[in-house]
């Protein structure tokens, strides 16, 4: 059974179309990253899936139940991390916050064990507001897991966090994924999408413009690899279609794709020109390149 089925979903806010005829199915156990810049419609998509807002038209089913009509049932079985981490009651401790959220559900996980898993045991007695951004995000994640949800929705779980805190969150998401939960996360970091997701959905202006496993997307839309070398006597490479790498003097590169000669002959050609190659590397394209290719714009812009 598909965990999520979206059929021709449209959501308009006045003249802004936040979701434009979106159709999508997510298999149980999949981890899906919805990748898109600010304003792409990511939060709107999550809102529709958990019944926080009504569709203008179209149909959504979560775990086989129609949204928003069966919101109450669906909410028993999902977990949600909002985009903003300030969404906690003030003056409650970490433990009090989690115990409170736990009471809203029939299925209740053990709080001590959850604290342990989220590496929050030491912080359990502190007010949530006194924690760092990364710790607060872990509390938000823990609150999303109090009911042992079948589907976990994470709206930009690492935006604004420092690299270490981001990696901590990644580990925790990875853990959820290994437990067999269906995970839908939104992000505008392509590294995050690539690393965590089985499947990446690229959203732009409310349209799905790309959909597939990250590597397949890259192969399909940005198949170019780049070969990079360093060494001595490299000046003649320019004649053979190589360019100096900007920012790292002494390194040269050239494209490596299906229309180019095979790797073997490229390297042989370079040696014949008198170059002495000391280091050779192949650089992969990234989802960034896929996004650029699909939308004509850069993701980080």
């Amino acid at each position: 059974m598909a965990a999520i089925r979206i059929d021709n979903a449209v959501k308009r806010f006045g003249d802004v179309t936040a979701l434009n005829h979106v159709s999508l199915e997510v298999e149980t156990g999949q981890t899906v990253a919805v990748l898109g810049p600010n304003g792409a419609g990511k939060t709107t998509l999550i809102d529709m899936l958990v019944g926080l807002a009504r569709l203008t038209s179209g149909n959504i089913e979560v775990l086989g139940h129609v949204m928003p009509k069966e919101s109450r049932w669906v909410r028993e079985h999902i977990g949600l991390c909002l985009q903003s981490t300030t969404a906690f009651f003030p003056r409650l401790t970490v433990r009090e916050t989690l115990s409170l959220y736990q009471r809203f559900f029939t299925q209740r996980r053990n709080i001590d064990e959850l604290l342990e898993r989220m590496q929050l045991t030491e912080k359990a007695g502190q007010p949530v507001s006194k924690l760092s951004g990364g710790q607060q995000q872990r509390v938000a994640l823990a609150a999303a897991l109090v009911n042992d949800p079948e589907v976990l929705f994470l709206d930009e779980p690492t935006t604004g966090l420092d690299p270490q805190a981001r990696r901590d969150i990644w580990d925790l998401v990875e853990m959820s994924r290994q437990q067999g939960r269906t995970v839908i996360l939104t992000t505008h970091y392509m590294e995050e999408a690539h690393r965590l997701a089985d499947r990446v959905i690229i959203l732009d202006h409310g349209h799905i413009v790309g959909d597939g496993p990250p590597d397949a997307l890259i192969r399909q839309y940005a198949p170019n690899q780049v070969i990079r070398v360093s060494g001595e006597h490299l000046a003649d490479l320019e004649r053979l279609g190589w360019h100096p790498v900007q920012g790292t003097p002494g390194e040269w590169q050239r494209p490596l794709n299906e229309n180019e000669p095979p790797l073997e002959s490229i390297l042989a050609e370079a040696r014949q020109s008198g170059a002495l190659l000391q280091r050779v590397s192949i650089e992969e394209s990234s989802l960034e390149d896929v996004f650029l290719r699909l939308t004509g714009r850069s993701l980080s812009a």
Binding site: E76, A87, R91, Y101, R103
Partner: protein
């Protein structure tokens, strides 16, 4: 523990850990009561009467005056100086069967002179063995002029219930703008469960406020309300419900906590000053009086006062009962109809 009881206890923890709340909702009304009580609480009647001269009525007159509460008797020959220096309010010269009273224009002096005149009339009737054609009975009722503290305490209590009800609305707006409500909405919790839990917490809070205000009033002023606990509880319940519902209603018509607090002040201040909390509504200028008739706080304060001090039966308080119940129902229904989890319009 169910979601509902867990939420009630969370609300109470959040409240009692807030310094703002502890000061403005719990301490401030009591401080105000102590301050106003200290400033205006000792206005009960007291007068000094100087007595000079002789006559057959003198012993009886002195005995009677001694029994009058608030009256102090001084035997003196220097009555004129006493009056002029302010030590005496009335000077009584007894000249056999004639009594001369010398008074000033001050209200206390005039009142005392009238009281003494009344005593003399009684003596005359008694001497003539004449049955009184018209009899009069005076019974005691606490009113604003008799004891300011008795007047003040029920009003302060009413005011504190109002303030904390409005305050609760402001907190809900903050929850909404910060996404706390949005997060709750994504759980199986219903809006009704959430509002009911906050309402329950408010009732607990009102009980605490009542105990504090009445307790301090009892310790400081010996204030002891009548035994009609049931009627008092009904009005406390109606009052806190009504004001909480106004708070809920305001919380759902505004977008930001700042606007909510502005509106709450615009409700709070006029209610406080026009509802007869600090001084009787009767002392308001005539053109403002009609305004006080539409303020729920006026009805709450008045009903509490009547029940606590005059032991007025509940049946005599149907108008305030209806006004407060109406306020609670109208604003409660409106608030639950327009309740919004989310600050963004969806």
């Amino acid at each position: 523990m169910s979601a509902y009881t867990a939420l009630v206890s969370a609300h109470l923890k959040i409240l009692f850990r807030s310094r703002d709340f502890l000061f403005w909702d719990l301490m401030f009304p009591v401080l105000l009561m102590i301050l106003l009580g200290a400033a205006f609480g000792h206005s009960s009647f007291s007068a000094t009467v100087g007595v000079s001269g002789h006559g057959p009525i003198r012993p009886l007159m002195l005995r009677t005056l001694h029994h009058l509460a608030g009256v102090k008797v001084v035997l003196t020959q220097a009555g004129a100086q006493g009056i002029q220096s302010g030590h005496l309010d009335v000077w009584m010269q007894i000249q056999q069967h004639h009594v001369r009273l010398i008074r000033t224009a001050s209200p206390i002096s005039q009142m005392t002179a009238i009281v003494i005149q009344g005593i003399i009339n009684q003596m005359n009737l008694a001497l003539l063995h004449h049955p009184a054609a018209i009899t009069v009975a005076i019974s005691h009722l606490s009113g604003p002029t008799s004891n300011y503290v008795d007047f003040l305490v029920p009003g302060i209590l009413a005011m504190s219930l109002m303030t904390s009800g409005l305050f609760a609305g402001g907190a809900i707006v903050t929850y909404r703008t910060q996404g706390v409500l949005r997060r709750l909405q994504a759980t199986p919790l219903s809006a009704m469960q959430f509002l009911l839990s906050r309402y329950t917490a408010q009732l607990v809070l009102s009980l605490v406020e009542t105990i504090i205000v009445l307790g301090v009033a009892h310790l400081l002023y010996g204030f002891s309300p009548s035994e009609s606990v049931g009627a008092v509880v009904i009005f406390l319940l109606l009052g806190s419900t009504g004001f909480l519902m106004i708070g809920f209603f305001v919380a759902n018509i505004v977008e930001s906590p700042e606007v909510a607090s502005t509106i709450n002040n615009a409700i709070n201040l006029p209610m406080m000053f026009l509802s007869g909390i600090f001084y009787p509504v009767g002392q308001l200028p005539a053109f403002i009086k009609p305004l006080s008739e539409v303020l729920p706080l006026k009805y709450l304060a008045e009903a509490l006062r009547n029940i606590m001090l005059a032991s007025q039966p509940l049946a005599h308080e149907t108008v305030p009962l209806l006004v407060l119940a109406g306020t609670a129902v109208v604003f409660g229904v409106l608030a639950s109809l327009i309740f919004k989890w989310d600050a963004r319009r969806v």
